[in-house]
């Protein structure tokens, strides 16, 4: 029994923290949030240098061949820095290919993904269907061509291929050829400007189905929700630190406001929720790598709890900051927006709680 990271995992965490702190200071995050593309080729190249796009890609395809724990370590630090990057969307695509890619698809894409030569993304939500991650009604026609509209697809503009979710848990790969009139991408205004979202319209686009592998795909989705939960842990941790620092510095009625229990107890509540989220995330990551029968429950628990906690903690941190926290000039709102958006991606807290009840036989 040891609920701590190995030396290697500690080293990844330290490297990630130091790298992101140096390369994504608040001013950079703000500039990228306001930029249409949201990242630069140089920034992507640095992440590639660290091997991050290929964390879970097998070593024979030039990846690092690591697991969910290492992904979660990086995702937590990405959330802490709030680094805008197509890393998340590309990791989603890699997880899907590793889980259910055909041999040809894996051969074609995994190596380029791991080497940073290509990026991918995952398109989940139909414009018209339900909002749960498994509610898609999309089906290709008899010629294997797909027509559909997907919303809120992360980083689609820079993706070399998209994985499209469909009815009955099926998924399809479509290559993103900018000259193909069958694919239209429209940037959508998003609450969280640090992750660029797109409306993807396919009209008769040629697609290649992924393998039918419900269990492996479920595991990929469980990993994705755990990553979102981990981002919320990092973002909430950062917002809490900002609130605590402010509560020590800001003086009103001749005292630092952190000396008032209305403020200090609010901060204590933040710690309770951040640590609870962190414990669930690490457990879910461990289960994904080591105890597959526990993983679906653990991942849904982590997503539900960290989804709620991420928003509550950042909102509470904003309240501690008072008026200044409501200004665009202050950085806090970026954290609030990310945790809020994450809470609604890939199943919100209600959906995941209902799944927790289902899995427990309630």
């Amino acid at each position: 029994m040891n609920f701590g990271f190995t030396d290697d995992q500690q080293a990844i965490k330290r490297t990630a923290h130091e790298f992101l702190e140096a390369r994504y200071p608040a001013a950079t995050v703000r500039r990228l949030a306001e930029d249409e593309r949201g990242f630069t080729d140089e920034q992507w190249a640095e992440l590639v240098e660290l091997g991050w796009p290929g964390v879970i890609v097998p070593e024979e395809a030039d990846g690092l061949g690591l697991g969910a724990v290492e992904l979660v370590v990086i995702a937590e630090e990405m959330g802490y820095a709030l680094a805008p990057s197509p890393w998340f969307s590309t990791t989603c695509a890699a997880l899907m290919l590793v889980a259910a890619g055909t041999e040809e698809q894996r051969e074609r894409w995994l190596g380029p993904l791991a080497r940073g030569e290509a990026r991918g993304t995952l398109a989940v939500w139909d414009e018209k269907a339900g909002w749960a991650p498994d509610h898609s009604e999309v089906e290709p026609d008899s010629d294997g061509k797909l027509s559909c509209v997907k919303i809120a697809v992360p980083d689609a503009a820079g993706a070399d291929f998209l994985i499209i979710s469909g009815a009955d848990g099926r998924h399809y790969l479509v290559e993103h050829d900018v000259s193909d009139p069958g694919i239209t991408l429209v940037a959508e205004p998003a609450i969280d400007p640090t992750r660029k979202l797109f409306r993807v319209e396919l009209s008769g686009a040629q697609v290649q189905p992924l393998e039918v592998a419900p269990e492996a795909i479920a595991r990929a989705y469980a990993t994705i929700v755990t990553l979102l939960a981990a981002e919320n842990v990092g973002a909430a941790q950062r917002a809490m630190e900002m609130a605590v620092t402010y509560a020590k510095d800001r003086t009103q009625f001749e005292r630092p406001i952190g000396a008032y229990q209305a403020v200090s107890h609010r901060c204590a509540q933040m710690l309770l929720e951040v640590e609870g989220s962190r414990s669930l995330c690490y457990w879910a990551a461990w289960a994904l790598d080591n105890e597959p029968e526990t993983a679906p429950r653990a991942a849904s628990m982590a997503k539900a709890y960290a989804g709620d906690a991420g928003f509550r903690v950042t909102a509470s941190a904003l309240q501690v900051h008072g008026g200044i926290g409501f200004t665009y000039e202050h950085d806090l709102h970026f954290f609030l927006k990310r945790t809020h958006a994450n809470a609604h991606a890939f199943g919100d807290s209600r959906w995941h709680r209902d799944r927790v009840a289902d899995l427990a036989g309630v």
Partner: protein, 386 residues
């Protein structure tokens, strides 16, 4: 990261499980005296088999178990629904305090009788005027030769009517700053100068007592730590109370939650269907499952942090606070699921009792407000409120 038990830890658990399967005496009888004797003989049985004081060093009659083994022990005892032992406070608080701060003579004198339940211990900390502000206790101890003469009043003294020894915090120097003028005594309860009166609780039970102390005598050698060091010694006692409770508490919440889900399968929800199909009830049951998992995971993460660094991590100080909230929401949901039966005080699973008893959870052993102060000041480094 490895969240499974090592072969050695599994062997420890299996040995305990096998022993409990043979020796668990089951439900205790009704009536205070009968229940007490039952608990005392259960503790003797544990002691004879080497299961009393598992965390204590072997040289003092304990088992010298590792932190993980202690956690396993606390979990398994609750999981097997074993009865309480007679000397809860002696084992969880008094013994560890004497081991940490007592003299070698005191360890030899007191520890064996704690383990065997021959001498029961109680805790004389809180007073009518000193609850959360424990350092403001007014009970006075005045030295007369080799003895101290004690006068004052204590409250919330669990097990006082069975106790031989009281862990008593009294003021020995009224001129010193309030944290500096306290001394930690072991007071013999078997003297006429100490009167015990039961306090009736909102549940109708009397777990707690008031102590009226009128010129009680305590030999000087019964001081634990040094004169004037009572605050530091008392903190050790309280830390042990909070640290050792976490593992048993999270298992008891998991058991209660399973019982609540069973109740919900038998009850009706808002829409007339089975309560578990009422979406609001489902959401709240799931949230409780998640929160009880957080209790378990935080307890283990705290343990790993202690093993790695020697000091508890921040998550350790959150356990008791969080548990009280989870247990209160759980019993509140049970009353909602009970529907109109929530007005009645009898039910098979005793939910109305548990609902009332849970109100004390956020008060006993440190109020939630005090625990939040501790987290804010000592973990987050926020300024003290004074």
């Amino acid at each position: 990261m490895d969240l499974t038990l090592s072969p050695g830890e599994e062997a420890f658990r299996d040995e305990l499980r096998a022993w409990l399967a043979e020796n668990n005496p089951g439900r205790e009888p009704a009536g205070d005296e009968a229940a007490f004797e039952f608990r005392r003989s259960w503790q003797r049985k544990l002691h004879d088999a080497g299961w009393a004081g598992v965390s204590w060093p072997k040289e003092y009659g304990g088992r010298g178990a590792t932190l993980v083994e202690q956690a396993i022990f606390n979990e398994e005892m609750v999981r097997a629904r074993t009865p309480s032992v007679a000397n809860v406070l002696g084992l969880a608080m008094g013994g560890p305090t004497v081991i940490a701060h007592g003299t070698e003579e005191q360890r030899k004198r007191y520890l064996p009788a704690i383990l065997s339940a021959e001498e029961i211990w109680c805790q004389g900390f809180s007073e009518p005027g000193a609850g959360s502000d424990l350092a403001s206790v007014k009970t006075r101890a005045v030295r007369q030769g080799d003895e101290w003469v004690v006068t004052g009043q204590k409250v919330w003294t669990t097990f006082a009517h069975h106790a031989k020894w009281c862990m008593l915090v009294a003021r020995t120097n009224p001129d010193a700053p309030k944290h500096k003028g306290l001394t930690y005594f072991l007071m013999d309860m078997e003297q006429d100068a100490v009167q015990v009166r039961p306090l009736r609780q909102i549940t109708g039970e009397s777990e707690f007592n008031e102590l009226f102390i009128e010129e009680a005598r305590i030999p000087h050698e019964n001081i634990v730590g040094a004169e004037g060091e009572g605050w530091a010694v008392a903190i050790t006692t309280l830390m042990h109370e909070r640290a050792t409770l976490a593992f048993g508490l999270q298992v008891s919440v998991q058991i209660a939650l399973r019982e609540l889900i069973e109740s919900a399968h038998q009850a009706r929800g808002l829409n007339g269907a089975v309560a578990t199909e009422d979406p609001v009830i489902r959401q709240r049951l799931a949230q409780l499952m998640i929160e009880s998992e957080v209790l378990r995971l935080n307890a283990y993460r705290g343990l790993s942090a202690i093993m790695r660094s020697g000091v508890p991590g921040p998550e350790g100080s959150l356990g008791k606070w969080h548990w009280s909230e989870v247990n209160q929401s759980l019993t509140e949901l049970a009353m909602e699921i009970a529907g109109p039966r929530a007005m009645l005080s009898e039910s098979e699973q005793n939910w109305s009792y548990r609902f009332l008893r849970a109100r004390a959870n956020s008060i006993e052993g440190g109020t939630t407000e005090i625990l939040k102060n501790i987290v804010a000041e000592r973990v987050l480094g926020l300024p003290r409120m004074r």
